[in-house]
């Protein structure tokens, strides 16, 4: 029998960036908030011995323990989905801060085009540019409407950047801190891009460039360029994350009760109201019911969709009929790019997660697609994140993968090669979606989230085109050997690609088009909110968290409004 606890105003499921933001804003507004996090407490003090590639980057010490829960995967509906038994393609978060603890910190705003992609694409290229199998739609919120929330997230996180991107949507304020330091590699990229009449700018970074105090009074330290950033926690408290910003802010109010080892297994509902959540204490095995006036799902893309499905809230997407919205529009990213091999040596082992320069000339609709068989594009960047010796063994083409020649070349080129990479936007397709697995279960007896996903014709065309652009820049940079990324075939869950999963709980202007409205409030259950990159109707050519952070602030505002007025907010 589950033990029922005293009711609170707000309960959040998961305490990463989204859970932390919602908790901080609601707690500041005087609401009593409980944050349930399935993982453990952790913070800067735990990263003292973090410069350990094997433990953290190779054996994934900070990430989700898959023995308890994973996803199942198949490329298409004719295959049997099988569990992702080992982490690979994406690195799910677990523990305070979620994957915002081991992220790189590149913090972009999606383009104005992204939010109105359907309208703007139809307007410029006519209604049939992509064909009926692609489910692109406007988001139900414009860039201009979201701008104040972008601004707020950037100020909370202390984002470092320049203001040199002419393709960016209008900004109400400059970045709160100056850009990171420009290394020789970056300067070489900048020069090459400028020679090609492109518009290079510094990657906006949550590896903060100088000591910064945010509007909530939290201090973020200055990045030391230690080279152990992505996949690691920051020992300096210099990489902005929930546990050094919004979580302490929420705790200071006295209104936030943060519980660890608390795995939520069900959203409880009566009529069309959520009454709270049921969770399991993973240490004692005890079951609890946490009643709340508002339930906010902040448990990442997969678990937000999964909890709605197992709790039978909303209509699940059926790819045969096209009906239902829950699980629809799952998107990922594709990674075009080119590797370059040089004669000179670079300090490739130094760096920071977001240290880089990039261009948006081939992103969004910033270039003409009239004669191209795809839409959108990708942000093309050269980043110096700090390469480490186990993970980085670059060799020129035709080098054997082991033996004397491999050893010689991989050692020689470790400091003489780097890549120019792009994050290719992914468009939603009828056949790519999330559902519940019929066979495999998690440690709590719930079905695994099932992922049916493959790259599409749009992806292949985009990948080829953008890889060639990356190779152009690499050539201008003077690489001795240039290797554009091989053309993509089927999506493969084994190699790491990005933790930029999106869709499944899409936001929309009307209840027919999505799961939540533009306050991330559930269309059917008005005291239930779901915020994650699952709200994105498609995936853009950038990292997601800047846009996600903005949506989390939007959601928090919605929860506060709801607590005052009740009812649907739109």
């Amino acid at each position: 029998m589950a033990k029922t606890l005293p009711s609170v105003d707000v309960v959040t499921v998961g305490v990463g960036w989204t859970g932390g933001i919602v908790a901080a804003e609601c707690a500041k507004a005087g609401l009593k908030v409980v944050g349930l996090e399935r993982g453990q407490k952790r913070g800067t003090e735990d990263y003292l011995n973090v410069h350990d590639e094997y433990r953290y980057a190779i054996r994934y010490d900070l990430m989700q323990n898959l023995s308890k829960e994973t996803v199942s995967f198949r490329n298409d509906r004719n295959m049997k989905a099988l569990p992702m038994r080992q982490l690979g393609s994406f690195l799910l978060g677990e523990g305070l801060g979620g994957s915002g603890t081991h992220w790189n910190g590149m913090t972009y705003r999606f383009l104005p085009y992204d939010f109105q992609i359907k309208t703007l694409t139809d307007k410029r290229y006519g209604p049939n540019k992509l064909g009926p199998d692609y489910l692109i739609q406007d988001w139900g919120l414009t860039y201009d409407q979201l701008e104040p929330y972008f601004d707020k997230f950037e100020k909370t996180a202390g984002i470092s950047g320049d203001d040199k991107n002419k393709f960016s949507g209008k900004r109400s304020n400059p970045y709160p801190t100056p850009p990171m330091k420009k290394t020789p590699m970056l300067a070489q990229f900048e020069k090459a891009a400028a020679n090609l009449k492109l518009t290079p700018y510094m990657v906006p970074s949550a590896n903060v460039s100088e000591v910064y105090k945010n509007p909530d009074g939290e201090t973020i330290n200055a990045c030391q360029y230690c080279g152990f950033c992505e996949r690691f926690g920051c020992e300096y408290g210099a990489k902005s994350s929930a546990e050094i910003t919004v979580v302490p802010t929420a705790l200071k109010t006295g209104n936030f009760d943060l519980r660890f080892n608390s795995n939520v297994v069900e959203i409880l509902k009566q009529g069309n109201k959520a009454t709270g959540v049921r969770y399991i204490d993973t240490v004692s095995g005890e079951e609890f019911i946490q009643p709340a006036n508002a339930v906010v799902l902040t448990s990442y893309v997969f678990n937000n969709a999964k909890l709605l499905m197992v709790s039978d809230i909303g209509e699940r997407y059926d790819p045969t009929t096209g009906k239902g919205t829950l699980g629809r529009n799952y998107c990922y990213q594709i990674l075009p790019g080119a590797a370059g091999f040089f004669e000179e040596q670079y300090n490739t082992f130094m760096g920071a997660g977001s240290l880089g320069m990039c261009i948006d000339d081939y992103n969004g609709d910033n270039f003409d697609h009239s004669d191209l068989d795809f839409i959108h594009g990708g942000n093309i960047a050269l980043t110096q994140t700090g390469t480490r010796p186990i993970g980085s063994n670059p060799t020129p083409p035709d080098t054997p993968t082991w033996g004397p020649e491999f050893k010689k070349q991989s050692i020689y080129y470790y400091t003489r090669s780097f890549g120019i990479g792009a994050q290719g936007a992914s468009m939603p397709h009828k056949q790519n979606y999330l559902s519940l697995d019929p066979t495999y279960k998690d440690a709590y007896g719930l079905p695994l989230m099932q992922l049916t996903y493959n790259f599409t014709g749009q992806d292949r065309a985009l990948h080829k085109y953008i890889s060639a652009r990356a190779a152009d820049i690499m050539k201008e940079m003077g690489a001795k050997t240039i290797v554009p990324n091989a053309e993509i075939t089927d999506y493969n869950i084994v190699p790491y690609q990005t933790t930029h999963n999106t869709g499944g709980t899409v936001m929309s202007l009307t209840p027919e088009q999505g799961v939540v409205n533009n306050y991330l409030q559930h269309w059917d259950v008005d005291n239930l909110f779901a915020v994650s990159a699952g709200n994105f109707a498609h995936n853009s050519g950038y990292n997601p968290t800047g846009t996600l952070g903005a949506l989390a602030y939007r959601c928090a505002e919605g929860v506060i409004k709801y607590s005052q007025s009740g009812g649907s907010l739109v």
Partner: protein, 249 residues
């Protein structure tokens, strides 16, 4: 925040909490620290295989926690040396103690896949669906090494330990191509594991038992654990920095 200040505060933290760096390592990370020199300085001497070896500050614990016999350990050692051989740049897998690293890993979480989804049913699936075996890595290594021995006996009527390098490469290549019959896993998958583990042993922090004397890092020009590069990050000149292990602070 200057890097120096940080360096000091970290050391102070270690002192004030009364934790010697070595203890932190031994207590927290892995069990396989037999003979590890917890003070991080000086040398200690260990018995190994009938002769004495010196274990420097950043040397490796030489004790077998997973392998039960010398034949299998020696097959593993020779195979890793073919993958990452000694050359004029420096030591190969054996010189770097990679076989001990792998032994220790197989005895722990890595070997028992304790952070992986190991519930059935097990289906072969498509390559895009990844690892689908009911076998743990420890079981795959045991089987793979026995298969390497069987293959040497079949092809050359000798133990894998007694064939020449070229013959070993032929067998390893057959494994890599997936041409050797294995139960519950392809030989290509075993080879991929073996290759990955060899590189991990050559380049991980020496506290895990490989990368002896940090020579793997030194060959590659990787400085290991450094507090900060903020003062050098803008330099055009390549920085040769003497590597530093985690256990030293």
């Amino acid at each position: 925040m200057s890097s120096d200040k940080n360096n000091v505060s970290r050391r102070d933290f270690l002192k004030t909490t009364g934790i010697a760096a070595g203890t932190l390592v031994g207590g927290g990370l892995i069990g396989g620290l037999v003979g590890y020199n917890i003070h991080g300085k000086g040398t200690s001497t260990l018995e190994h295989g009938g002769h004495e070896t010196t274990n420097e500050a950043t040397g490796s614990p030489k004790a077998k926690m997973f392998f039960r016999n010398e034949r299998d350990f020696s097959i593993l050692s020779k195979a890793t040396e073919r993958i990452f051989p000694e050359d004029d740049l420096g030591p190969g897998a054996i010189g770097l103690d990679v076989p001990y690293f792998i032994d220790h890993q197989l005895a722990g979480n890595y070997g028992s896949n304790s952070k992986e989804y190991m519930q059935g049913p097990f289906d072969v699936g498509a390559p895009t669906q990844g690892y689908q075996s009911r076998l743990t890595r420890a079981e795959i290594f045991r089987q793979g090494i026995q298969k390497m021995e069987d293959e040497a006996q079949k092809r050359y009527k000798k133990s894998f330990n007694d064939i020449d390098g070229k013959q070993m490469d032929e067998i390893l290549t057959a494994f890599q191509k997936g041409d050797i019959e294995m139960v519950g896993v392809t030989s290509a998958f075993f080879f991929a594991l073996l290759r990955a583990a060899t590189l991990e042993g050559a380049y991980s922090d020496p506290m895990y038992g490989g990368n002896r004397n940090m020579d793997g890092w030194r060959m590659k020009g990787f400085p290991g654990h450094q507090m900060a590069y903020i003062t050098q990050i803008e330099d055009a000149k390549f920085q040769k920095i003497e590597p530093n292990p985690l256990g030293n602070h």
